[in-house]
């Protein structure tokens, strides 16, 4: 197993780091879209976050890694086993699964297990990437270059949390709930609005321009490359702190309250920005609650709402295809207006 660069050792990129932490606290936000330049540590951050999070308990031997505590979404085989007695569990790492460009439908959805079919003529399902990403992260680099037919598959599964397979004479369904992390450069292609909508948060990252910051990036990378173990040990306390903060926030999240005036303000923001449907509002409130929880406060404040407006809404604006990227300035202007009123 390759040593992973520590999450807390990433220099700068605060908006991306915060969004990833928020998504880890509240998986129902269903993902983060990271737009920006190459080489800004996007994939490093995703892998680092997964390594930081505590291990999860999964049903032993289950090929989907079912959650023994969540009995409503067990796969068929776990459900059968559970009828006979308590499920054996093991601790396992949170999966980070790469969905590479050009992946075939078979690999994404799963297919007939050729090995078993050849060996003993058995019809066994070989889980795909969606199954492997269950309860973890599905990472798509250059998501805007993903082929349309794979996007179609994702859209449905990401919304329903379940992969329904009807192919090659197989008919089955299994849970596939994952945090979708996409990254890409908007200059290289557009993203379909339906797919944009599946990402709860959207952040923009830029290559740092300040020389001291760049020096720090290069320096840490160099130290990590030369002696990974010592480097990881140096950041272990910071990692431990953040892990504890995320766990505390998760515990606090269910009791975080949202006052009526906050709800009203959220509605005003969404109306002023002209976002489609209610998903924008819902996401904004969820994100604000997660932010409040991450700061250990039990009530969402206007400040929480303000800080999450851009990441939760900037990719939901109706836009002109010829208009420039993510309209961050439009969001800023509206935020200023609504909060001034």
């Amino acid at each position: 197993m390759k040593t992973v660069f520590p999450f807390t050792a990433i220099v700068g990129q605060d908006e991306m780091i915060n969004a990833l932490v928020i998504a880890a606290i509240e998986p129902r936000l269903s993902g983060v879209l990271i737009f920006g330049d190459r080489g800004t540590g996007k994939s490093t951050a995703v892998r680092a976050l997964a390594a930081l999070l505590p291990e999860i308990s999964a049903v032993t031997g289950c090929q989907y890694g079912c959650d023994p505590a969540d009995t409503s979404s067990l796969c068929d085989s776990c459900r059968e086993k559970r009828a006979q007695g308590p499920l054996p569990t093991t601790k396992t790492k949170i999966p980070v699964v790469d969905l590479p460009l050009g992946a075939t439908e078979d690999r994404v959805v799963g297919a007939l297990n050729l090995e078993r079919a050849l060996a003993d003529g058995a019809k066994v399902f070989e889980p795909g990437l969606l199954a492997r990403a269950h309860r973890g992260f599905l990472y798509i680099d250059e998501v805007n270059l993903l082929e349309d037919h794979i996007v179609d598959l994702l859209l449905d599964v990401a919304a329903s949390g379940e992969n329904v397979v009807e192919r090659e004479g197989m008919s089955l369904r299994h849970p596939a709930r994952f945090v979708l992390i996409g990254s890409g450069n908007p200059e290289e292609g557009e993203l379909r609005p339906q797919l944009l909508d599946r990402f709860g948060l959207c952040v923009e990252v830029r290559t740092p321009t300040a020389i001291p910051e760049r020096i720090e990036v290069v320096k840490r990378r160099d130290e990590f490359d030369r002696d990974p173990a010592a480097f990881v040990a140096r950041f272990a306390p910071a990692e431990q702190n953040l892990r504890a903060r995320i766990l505390d926030a998760r515990a606090l999240l269910p009791v975080v309250t949202v006052a009526d005036e906050i709800l009203e303000q959220a509605a005003k923001l969404c109306i002023a920005l002209g976002t489609d449907g209610l998903r924008g509002e819902l996401t904004l409130l969820r994100a604000a609650r997660a932010l409040a929880a991450s700061e250990g406060t039990a009530a969402v404040t206007l400040d929480h709402l303000r800080r999450m407006t851009a990441p939760a809404l900037r990719h939901r604006l109706r836009r002109d295809p010829l208009d420039d990227s993510l309209a961050g300035t439009r969001v800023e202007r509206v935020v200023a207006e609504v909060f001034a009123a």
Binding site: K2, D37, T40, T104, E105, V217
Partner: protein, 565 residues
């Protein structure tokens, strides 16, 4: 010569270490494969073969990745031939695993698909223990290898040495031992990052690679400290090529790298400098609003013909793989072994002649590969931005292009933008889906100077032909007032310029490129009509204040093309 060489005036190199840059890059990569690799921008030939041979000799093993490699071979998977022979699954490692500890040679890197590039990049990031050589044979800057790949290679080498000195193998192995002992000084870091900032190299990977290269160079020298000459070398090999690739923000141009002189000249001629230029830009800013408003009117008709133009044709011979279907072999159809086995597998025990565990494949199990031919459409706009055009209707031409861009968005076409003026044609925007960029490039397009029409048409033809080679469908839209006065040879002269333009038009026809010629002369120019005829394209006088009809014509053209293919 080079502006960044001055502060680090190199001492004479130590004994046995006087190499040319390409050899240095190779040697540093051999010392530290973590540098990712080398992109070689050269066509096949004895110099490249020689270089590759020497480079490969520095590594314990080397593997070559052919173009169009499948996932099963790249990443490993079931070995079908062995599986069928043995009657049980035989798993073979992929090429990336086989190249561990050695050199991976990527042939024809500019044609590698983004998908393959993404897999290689993921393997390289995920601790893949191989160094890469990307053989980039691209003809010009319009068809670079996938950025995801190039980003992960420290070096770019364009000039290959003929007969030159190479480091002795014992030096490389000694340097490998020494490498972990080389210390990273703060001063080295500051110098590298400072230079990178002034060169606007973009991603921080550049600095990381430069630092690694400097450390490898120090190790190769036998030192444990990074010296000024190591930094100078790293900057020259790693940062300088990146600077040429990423232009700096306009207000702060980077000091040009030595090999950049040709490009910077181009840039100079592009900057507006005459009075005429500013006129064109002002006119463009005053674009009448009804041009865009007319887009809505064009909408419904477009939808009505949409079904006809989007047609992807199913084929058993070429295109993108799109699953398989039962069918007989022959006629060029390719057997999909995997799917054939899948079809046969469930019958395993029911088919007596299969015997034991062997799988019995029958003719009815045959599955042939199905391909979907859905060529990507690319609309190439070639815009006459000369002085005469600017006076005439460049602003309206820009408005018309904007309408067409909206059209392209709906069709999910790619667009490219070429402009010709003065003595040359320039590709302002290589094919892209990012229409906002096209709009920006268009807005910033100045007008002025004479009209090198033949050069413009030839450049458009070359781009269209290059796109066709990639399996895409080019559609050429030429906007001109036909006032050609510069010939192919760059010499002024109306008669020769007109003749050259017609010849260029005929060569478009020979290539069978589907074209639309928009006449932007005030009352139409018969010469442009003749040009369209010679091109085998459609002719359209740019109507006043009705750019919508233009966009309808492009639709029709695209439709005709879609059906023809």
């Amino acid at each position: 010569m080079s502006p960044f060489e001055a502060p680090f005036a190199p001492d004479p190199p130590p004994e046995g270490l006087a190499f040319c840059d390409a050899v240095w890059a190779a040697a540093l990569l051999a010392v530290d494969p973590g540098l990712g690799g080398i992109a070689i921008r050269a066509w096949s030939g004895p110099a490249r073969d020689d270089f590759l041979r020497h480079l490969a000799a520095l590594f314990p093993l080397s593997r070559k990745m052919p173009l169009g490699i499948g996932d099963d071979r790249l990443l490993g998977g079931l070995d079908l031939a062995a599986t069928l022979r043995a009657g049980r699954p035989v798993v073979a490692p992929g090429l990336l695993a086989e190249a561990a500890g050695g050199l991976l040679i990527l042939a024809m890197a500019e044609r590698i698909t983004p998908g393959t590039a993404a897999r290689i990049a993921a393997a390289a990031d995920g601790g893949g223990d191989f160094a890469m050589v990307a053989l980039d044979e691209s003809a010009g800057p319009d068809e670079p290898p996938p950025a995801a790949l190039m980003e992960r290679l420290a070096f770019t080498v364009a000039e290959l040495p003929g007969d030159t000195d190479w480091p002795a193998p014992h030096r490389i192995s000694a340097a490998r031992v020494k490498l972990p002992l080389v210390r990273t000084g703060d001063q080295a870091l500051t110098q590298i990052c400072g230079t990178a900032a002034s060169l606007a190299t973009g991603s921080v990977r550049g600095e990381s690679f430069a630092l690694r290269a400097a450390r490898a160079a120090a190790a190769l020298r036998g030192g444990t400290e990074i010296a000024a000459e190591d930094i100078a070398l790293a900057i020259r090999l790693v940062l300088a090529p990146r600077a040429t690739r990423a232009p700096a923000p306009p207000e702060q141009p980077p000091p040009p790298a030595p090999e950049e002189t040709e490009e910077s000249e181009t840039r100079e001629t592009e900057t507006p400098e005459t009075l005429e230029d500013s006129v064109a830009e002002a006119a463009a800013a005053k674009l009448p609003p009804e041009l865009l408003a007319a887009l809505a009117a064009g909408g419904p008709k477009r939808a009505a013909r949409g079904a006809g133009t989007s047609g992807a044709s199913a084929s058993v011979k070429r295109g993108r793989p799109a699953g398989s279907r039962p069918g007989a072999l022959g006629g060029g159809a390719k057997l999909s072994l995997l799917d054939t086995l899948r079809a046969a597998a469930p019958w395993g025990k029911l088919r007596p002649q299969g015997g034991g565990k062997r799988i019995a494949v029958r003719a009815e199990d045959f599955r042939v590969k199905k391909f979907k031919e859905q060529p990507r459409r690319i609309t190439i706009f070639a815009v006459d931005a000369s002085g005469s055009s600017a006076i005439n209707r460049l602003a309206e031409a820009k408005g018309a292009i904007q309408l067409l861009l909206a059209e392209c968005y709906v069709r999910r076409d790619q667009v490219a933008l070429l402009a010709f003026r003065g003595r040359e044609a320039a590709c302002l925007l290589p094919p892209t889906h990012a229409l906002a960029r096209a709009k920006r490039a268009l807005a910033g397009l100045p007008g002025g100077g004479p009209t090198p029409l033949a050069t413009g048409i030839a450049a458009a033809r070359a781009l269209a032909a290059a796109e066709r080679r990639k399996g895409h469908q080019p559609l050429l839209v030429l906007l001109t007032d036909g006032g050609a006065n510069i010939g192919r040879d760059g010499q002024p002269g109306r008669a020769a310029a007109a003749a050259d333009a017609l010849a260029a038009a005929k060569s478009c026809r020979a290539e069978n490129i589907s074209a639309l010629v928009v006449d932007t002369a005030p009352r139409g120019n018969p010469f442009v009509a003749g040009l369209a005829r010679d091109m085998g394209g459609r002719y359209l006088k740019l109507p006043y204040a009705d750019a919508a009809s233009l966009s309808r014509v492009v639709q029709d053209q695209g439709g005709a093309f879609g059906r023809a293919a």
